[in-house]
């Protein structure tokens, strides 16, 4: 589906307007030129991370040419990948992100379905209002949330503070609004005849959702999933506040808090950790990018 959308773009125009082909050739050259510039801009920091991650700490301190590795070493990678602590961060991050994605989908798909298809009083307000939850910043919410979860812990005896799973409650506030919004857009792009037909055939609303909407809206779902995953993977302030024990930390916080010791930055390992931490989302994007774009195309532009 996605490749189809992509194919429409370039070549057809080229063929039809032969007289413009010289213009296009120039436009293409310019495009490549600027894209190269922007790609350099985008890739310098990650590249520098890679270079630094291959250096030993003595070479980093020596202030030699920062863009070159004179004594490449894998010690940083070996050090991190054999450290139980780092693997634990990785595992926590993966657990949190995956479960949050699932929770996000369970909340936002039904809600988006109801808001896009079943008009009820306030549905339009709610549909836009959901987006406004982003107006309330996390720096405002963390103290009250901490207090809430501490209170729950004191009353029920269920310890939530300083457990990685407390993040499962908090992250959805960051992922659900955007995902719901994308899904509303996507569902709205599905022809009404489709579900009307299903309802006439005697399907319940729930069946319409699971049998028709979800399969048809799969690209939108994938786009929302990827978004939710990226957001959960990257969170910093909430896990910094809510988890303190080293075996409960997620990756970004774990790296910042265990590899920086007091006023001593362990740059080689920090960069290695950051690269390894960036790998899962990178891989996901590499494979699912086309769906992502296709999903956003329909989900974000409808209307």
């Amino acid at each position: 589906m996605s490749t189809m959308t992509v194919d429409k773009a370039g070549p057809t125009r080229n063929v039809k307007y032969g007289s413009m082909s010289r213009d296009r050739a120039w436009a293409l050259r310019w495009s490549y030129f600027f894209l190269t510039l922007f790609a350099i801009f985008s890739l310098v920091p990650p590249l520098y991370m890679l270079i630094t991650s291959l250096k030993g700490s003595a070479e980093i301190s020596a202030a030699t040419n920062p863009w070159w590795v004179f004594h490449p070493t894998l010690e940083n990678y070996i050090g991190l990948l054999t450290s139980n602590q780092f693997l634990r961060f990785f595992f926590n991050s993966a657990m949190v992100s995956i479960v949050v994605v699932i929770i996000t989908m369970l909340i936002s798909i039904p809600a988006a379905f109801a808001l896009s298809r079943m008009k009820f009083w306030g549905s339009a307000t709610l549909a836009t209002g959901v987006f406004l939850t982003y107006l309330i910043p996390d720096s405002l919410l963390f103290i009250p949330l901490f207090k809430m979860f501490a209170l729950i812990g004191d009353v029920t005896g269920i310890q939530l503070i300083n457990r990685w799973y407390v993040l499962l409650f908090i992250y959805p506030t960051l992922t659900v609004p955007f995902c719901t919004w994308i899904m509303i857009g996507y569902f709205a792009s599905i022809p009404k005849e489709l579900d009307e037909a299903a309802i006439i055939d005697g399907a319940s609303w729930l069946q319409t959702l699971t049998r028709i909407f979800i399969p048809v809206a799969l690209p939108g779902l994938i786009a929302a999933t990827i978004f939710a995953f990226t957001v959960s993977w990257a969170q910093f302030l909430y896990p910094l506040v809510f988890t303190t024990s080293a075996d409960q930390l997620v990756l970004p916080v774990g790296i910042v808090t265990t590899l920086i010791k007091g006023d001593v930055f362990n740059w080689g390992q920090i960069m290695t950790g950051a690269l390894l931490g960036a790998a899962p989302p990178l891989i996901i994007y590499a494979f699912l990018m086309d769906y992502y774009i296709a999903g956003l195309t329909a989900g974000a532009t409808k209307g």
Binding site: L43, P46, P137, A234, F236, L237, A278
Partner: protein
């Protein structure tokens, strides 16, 4: 707002039912289902966003040791502080500049990617999206290391051209430039991908028609592309404006507000007074103050997008 929606729904239901007696059952079933389907969303927002937000409003009305109610006292105090207004000004400059550049770069890059043959697009998109995929807390550390006073790789490179050393985070103007640069670097790919998605949905026929009418590329962008992308530009800008305005990690890690408070924005200054200064109510007041500013922006932008809600 959310609570109101539920309440009114309950009232509206019987009214409608009276009007159309025949459809009563179906309608009842439909709105009950609809309510149940949105219930998790409503609960999530009510319990984990609205309630804590109200609680922090309460916090903002307490005195420093959180033992006495002072009403608007904290705000009165803030309004008399020069640093507070400096922070307000800087937050606006920071957010607006960063969002404008993100939007511009995103738009331009999306066009270029859209321009090149489909075969190569994947690889370019992949490369250009990298900044958005790396958790910002970590990529900012890489930037910090690139800007480092003693070890800056940029200054090392620039020294070959006889430039520098540039005090990337040491001088107020450069420090502002640096935090905005990193923010643009991190956020532009999101715009790029959103714009790319919407560019793909602009029908080719429109461009063909425009080309036949003799429109140049600028006219094509102005009269075809931009109107078609209006909604997506509005919503992406709003989203990014909110996130940038409330940004914490990038500024905190790069400059922590310095030098001389010249890069403080709301979240970092709230952290400084609330956590480092042990004055949580004042910190909450600072954070709270950004909500009305954003709300104004949101209302303007959402006026456009609201149409979409009604159509769907």
């Amino acid at each position: 707002m959310v609570d109101a929606a539920i309440g009114e729904d309950a009232i509206a239901r019987p009214r409608r039912a009276v009007r159309r007696r025949g459809l009563r059952n179906a309608l009842k079933r439909k709105s009950t289902t609809a309510f149940l389907l949105t219930l998790p969303l409503i609960l999530l927002i009510a319990l984990l966003v609205v309630y804590p937000a109200l609680y922090s409003v309460h916090l903002a009305t307490l005195n420093k040791s959180m033992q006495r109610f002072v009403g608007f006292g904290n705000f009165e105090f803030l309004f008399k502080r020069d640093t507070f207004w400096l922070v307000v000004k800087q937050s606006c400059i920071f957010a607006v500049t960063a969002v404008v550049f993100k939007a511009l770069i995103g738009f331009i890059v999306a066009h270029f990617v859209h321009n090149i043959p489909a075969k190569g697009q994947r690889k370019w998109r992949g490369m250009l999206l990298v900044p958005w995929v790396i958790p910002p807390a970590m990529s900012t550390l890489a930037w910090l290391w690139l800007f480092d006073p003693s070890y800056s790789a940029f200054n090392y490179t620039l020294a070959f051209f006889g430039i520098g050393p540039i005090p990337w985070t040491g001088d107020a103007a450069w420090a502002r430039f640096s935090v905005i640069l990193v923010n643009v670097w991190y956020g532009a790919p999101f715009f790029m991908i959103m714009y790319l998605a919407s560019l793909k949905s602009v029908p080719d026929q429109l461009y063909e028609a425009a080309a036949i009418d003799g429109a140049n590329w600028w006219q094509r962008i102005w009269y075809v592309t931009l109107p078609m992308m209006r909604n997506i530009i509005a919503i992406t800008t709003l989203f990014s404006l909110i996130v940038t305005f409330a940004n914490f990690d990038i500024v905190r890690i790069l400059t922590a507000g310095g030098p001389l408070d010249k890069t403080h924005i709301f979240a970092t200054w709230a952290f400084r007074v609330g956590i480092e200064g042990s004055d949580i109510p004042l910190g909450a007041s600072v954070s709270l103050f950004m909500v009305p500013i954003l709300a104004v922006a949101a209302i303007f932008i959402l006026r456009d997008v609201n149409k979409r809600g009604n159509e769907s």
